[in-house]
């Protein structure tokens, strides 16, 4: 219970941290613990900015990504954030 409390406090602190300004260019990344390696995002990306990474999970090439957001809508595990 103490552990859960600490984690919740930690989350609240980090939420306060959200108070910072948002970066001017959005950036998408993949939550590797949620990605199931289905490759759907790779197939939909119009810029070929997504590839398979070292652990078989998707990674986004930030230099090529144009933030169209198609990968977010298609991901069956909602792993892109």
């Amino acid at each position: 219970m103490k552990k859960i409390g600490i984690i919740l406090i930690l989350i609240i602190i980090l939420m306060v941290y959200i108070g910072c300004d948002k970066v001017s260019n959005p950036e998408y990344n993949v939550d590797k613990s949620a990605c199931n390696s289905c490759g759907a995002c790779i197939g939909i990306c119009p810029k070929d900015a997504i590839e398979i990474g070292e652990d078989g999970k998707a990674i986004i090439d930030q230099t090529k990504c144009n933030q169209c957001g198609k990968c977010i809508a298609i991901c069956p595990e909602d792993a892109i954030y």
Binding site: K3, I9, M15, D31, G53, T63
Partner: protein, 478 residues
Amino acid sequence: MKKILILLLILFSISQVFSDEEHNNKSNAKSKNKYYKIARSLYRKPFGETLCIPFIWLGNLTDDEKDKFDPSNEQEPKDLDQQRRFNLTNWSQISLNYFTTNAKHDINMVTGASQEAESINTKGKFGLKYQHELTGKISEEFSYDVKEEIFYSEKSHERRNSFLTNNLKLSLFYKQETTYLRLQFNNRYYNPDETNFLNLPGVVYNTQQQMTSSAILHLKQDFGKLSLNVYSNLRDLEYRYVVPLEENNDEYEVHQASDYDSYTDAKLFFKIADHMKVFGRMYYKDDLNELSLFDQMNLGGGFEYDNKIDLFSSIKAKVQYYNNISDKINNEQDHNFVTQLRYSRRFRNGISGFVSYINRSCYDNETSQIYRVSNMLRIHAMYSYSIENLNNSYLLSGIKYNPENEGTLGFIEQNQYLFKDIYSTVNIKYSFDLFTSYSLKIEYFLNSLQSFWIKNEYTDFYNIQKQNLIYFGSTFIF
């Protein structure tokens, strides 16, 4: 100053979590001989499909049995274990989809322009998807994996760029106690006559994907407390682009082009304590084309904590810093911080779940400001329950909070045993900014490895398109 205090507070909280875990480890060791109920196992297959297999064991487990039935490991069914004696496993799925709605708009195949005013008659159009995975062992050390996916649709599909694609992956693995090596070749082919030209923001011409090939090398080597992880990927992108002729905007010139990219990701880990590692990382992306516009270099490091406390709970944490060097990325993202936390827990009454949080922030030297790149909080809870003495149904619910990238959503899914090896799955997903989807799937299991299913999926992509698809499919493992 305030930001530094917050950071210190976060680090202090993390250290408190770790010290608390050590205490829990000791107390959990005392309760090893208690009764355990292994609720169920979700046997997750590639390509995002989940095959649910009833899996129940009640009783007083020995330590060996507990390891065997550890729910955190993905257990394979016994039938499949027997098949593995032949060192060969096939997983195959074929599905036919049928559109019952008209598209609100379609994309011009040549110019990429959206024809929003027109309603295209797509009702009654078909699509086909075939997926196959073959895994096998050559010897104790060597194994291989072949994945193939063919997708065809008569209609422009909101979830695809092409009407016809073929995706092939060939992998060869070498595994020893301290060495892991993977050689992989990927090829994605888009039928040139049936692929959309894409009108990308900021790009003056429309592009059409043709083919992507990549060669991957991945090496992991352990040297006791030290371990090395090197990944390299060489990509070839084939595409076409159209340029309108100046005199007449209705005429276009089509050009063929190739791009080459090279990715290298190297990490060096050092184990400083039980469950804890520090690491240094170098990521280098080399744009091998003439202008090298898309080069990128990341240098950084951090620490990882991964502790499976007992059969029922685990905690993971990762804190990372990296310096970003690239002309294509704004200066404000030169210094990046990533914090990840994940706590998962199972209870004996069939309830399980996890809380996961990821924060990405960056620091701008020029303005001395910290910016938030992305925050994601994810909470999932699952309740497994029995019907007719089979613990084979579940209710799963979750939320994802991601305010920066319009990724906030909630979902609920119920998998229910109906009768005589027939299961139903209902899924409702509501995204605040992107879409709402509803699906119903009825699946009949011939046995634990083979099934037939029918599925209806309705998706409303806000302000873009509403589509309803009926799928007929089968899944086989042999």
